[in-house]
Subunit: 407 residues, 2 copies
Amino acid sequence: MKNVLVGQSGGPTAVINSSLAGVYETAKACGAPHVYGMQYGIEGVLEGKIVDLDTVLCDKMDIELLKRTPSSFLGSCRHKLPDPTVDDRPYHTLFDLFARYDIGAVFYIGGNDSMDTIAKLSAYGKAVNSEIRFIGVPKTIDNDLMLTDHTPGYGSAAKYIATILKEVICDSSVYDIRSVTVAEIMGRHTGWLAAASSLATGPDCNGPDLILLPERTFNEDAFLERVAKLEKERHNVIIAVSEGVKNAEGVFLCDLVSTAGQLDAFGHKAILSGTSRYLADLIRVRLGCKTRAIEFSTLQRCASHLASRTDITEAYQVGGASVEAAVRGETAEMCAIKRLSDQPYRVETEMVDVTQVANFEKKVPDEWITADGMHVNENFERYARPLIQAELTPIYINGVPRHIHLD
Amino acid sequence: MKNVLVGQSGGPTAVINSSLAGVYETAKACGAPHVYGMQYGIEGVLEGKIVDLDTVLCDKMDIELLKRTPSSFLGSCRHKLPDPTVDDRPYHTLFDLFARYDIGAVFYIGGNDSMDTIAKLSAYGKAVNSEIRFIGVPKTIDNDLMLTDHTPGYGSAAKYIATILKEVICDSSVYDIRSVTVAEIMGRHTGWLAAASSLATGPDCNGPDLILLPERTFNEDAFLERVAKLEKERHNVIIAVSEGVKNAEGVFLCDLVSTAGQLDAFGHKAILSGTSRYLADLIRVRLGCKTRAIEFSTLQRCASHLASRTDITEAYQVGGASVEAAVRGETAEMCAIKRLSDQPYRVETEMVDVTQVANFEKKVPDEWITADGMHVNENFERYARPLIQAELTPIYINGVPRHIHLD
């Protein structure tokens, strides 16, 4: 067993460090003399930023803290490697470094862009007869990777969204006045996260009345008609909207706001990340309702204090299974999650061809979206409910969760 | 022992229902035949909206759920009773209702406006020789009530702010680029909540680099100078700002944004609740940094999933102690929290004159703010750290916290 190199790439999640823990502990258990970490992903490696993880993860407590620390412990990047037939210089740099550190396997924890990196590195490695294995470890709150039932990171984001929507709904009904609340949820291209708002629904909560997904074109008339009807029926109307919803012209609703000619206080064009604000304004102006816009913000990808234990466990498992695949000699693959049954929920890991994942995007299936295009049905519930089960309690010190950092 | 009437008023908190539980259980234990709840506060009572709590709180499990349910279980209002010498009609309505329901004591859980209601009702009661006792139960995330060491609701908001700021700081350092993050925190008139951001600080977190409080006038030059210096020293600068910060002209920074002439997509003046956005834009334009603005939003007052157990316990205690005071025959009072020691943290309840609380406002003491006016010192830490200690785990059902509602 040679040394191992592991990196994290793309946007953070609440559980990406659990996959790092899975890679690290499994590689050590398999006999890797050193497990190195890329600082700031492949971009950092190109600048020689490599750290020996044995020097920073000293004991089992550090591993427990790592699992509970949000964002990418090693730092991240959004760096796309060039086509090697156009520019192979970064590949020379990287493979020289791999040789110098006696690397036998490289693991890259990330989304579809990161799988592109793994696909390119493994193709280049094959071309130069390298024996290094390259494995992708899936991670994204967006849940948009192909060939895997779901992605680590999604379950925790979904649990956060469902939980805080429940709390916001409690808050929205406090006064004896009618109102419409529009909650903006991440997801520029797919509606997986917005759909997760439906998981707020239960005997104690009606959940969102409408969910707008990027998988469906926004129809202003149909939308306003539905809101007007709902507003007559109930005190508080709750709308969940994906930030990526577009109108029939293909324009993001948030861009409809920011192209309206506003300038900020300094004379620059204002950036109003405002799908929810747009809809709240639309409803207020057209229907005369009291409205409120709320953005669920970056917390969706970093709220480790509310992570799903199922998600944390699976994130660790795909890290570990990726190492085992490399030990078996596999390469150019991603470790996917295959669902065996919904009830009881059972999954296993399987290795899939990384080129079939890189740069593709999985959308919410048509048959999971209601006929009116403004909600999801029981198929989504059956799929998503198991992913948010159980909790991993933060280690609270002095009243706040303790984390671990690379300094 | 006659019947009891209890209401909730003003903005919600994560633990206001724990005070309701304290009033309810203590009143029952003291032998109150019925404990009635005001629906939507005194405004609802004026419309005859009264509920017998025995019909909705059926067993101990309901009490446990009540303690874990954010926002006001009974509904709330922002209704100011008129001066009875000007208009005594609402007082006739209320005291007629009190007589009809055989009410012996009225408890109102709220902030300084709610204490005004208790002060007016008890003054009117005294004038008409009523034997009904009127007691205020303190509640506000703003922590701005006089004569009490702190207010129930503040500890949980502070714990939420400190925890999510820690997570946002993890998130902000993920890429290898320099950036300035501005986090906007509630508090229109006082800086108690913004100051709580300092509780993120610990061996694993530097906490906010600057904290801007409404207690200090915003000085643009001094601020930019500090940010420019910090930005040279470290990768990520973190600034916590209270939404209530004003400049030397007495103008809210957020109003500087919205008076800059923006229109929303419908030609109306845009409402950009944007102290953080203003500062982020200012820094970006004047210093050329990459900036990010984040609003901590309404979750600050309703994130029960992250409540402080100390806060929940004290909220229950002030509810119970208020009932005991009424049983002793006291009236026109508020139940305050008196601190006996910081370390170990010990408190007791004491009854104070409600007229000394109503309509006043307690600010962060000068000697707790650093000389430059842009942070808080160890005095604040000593005061606030005990208030965020320990947790009360939500009861998770199907992956989300279970709540209880009045239907």
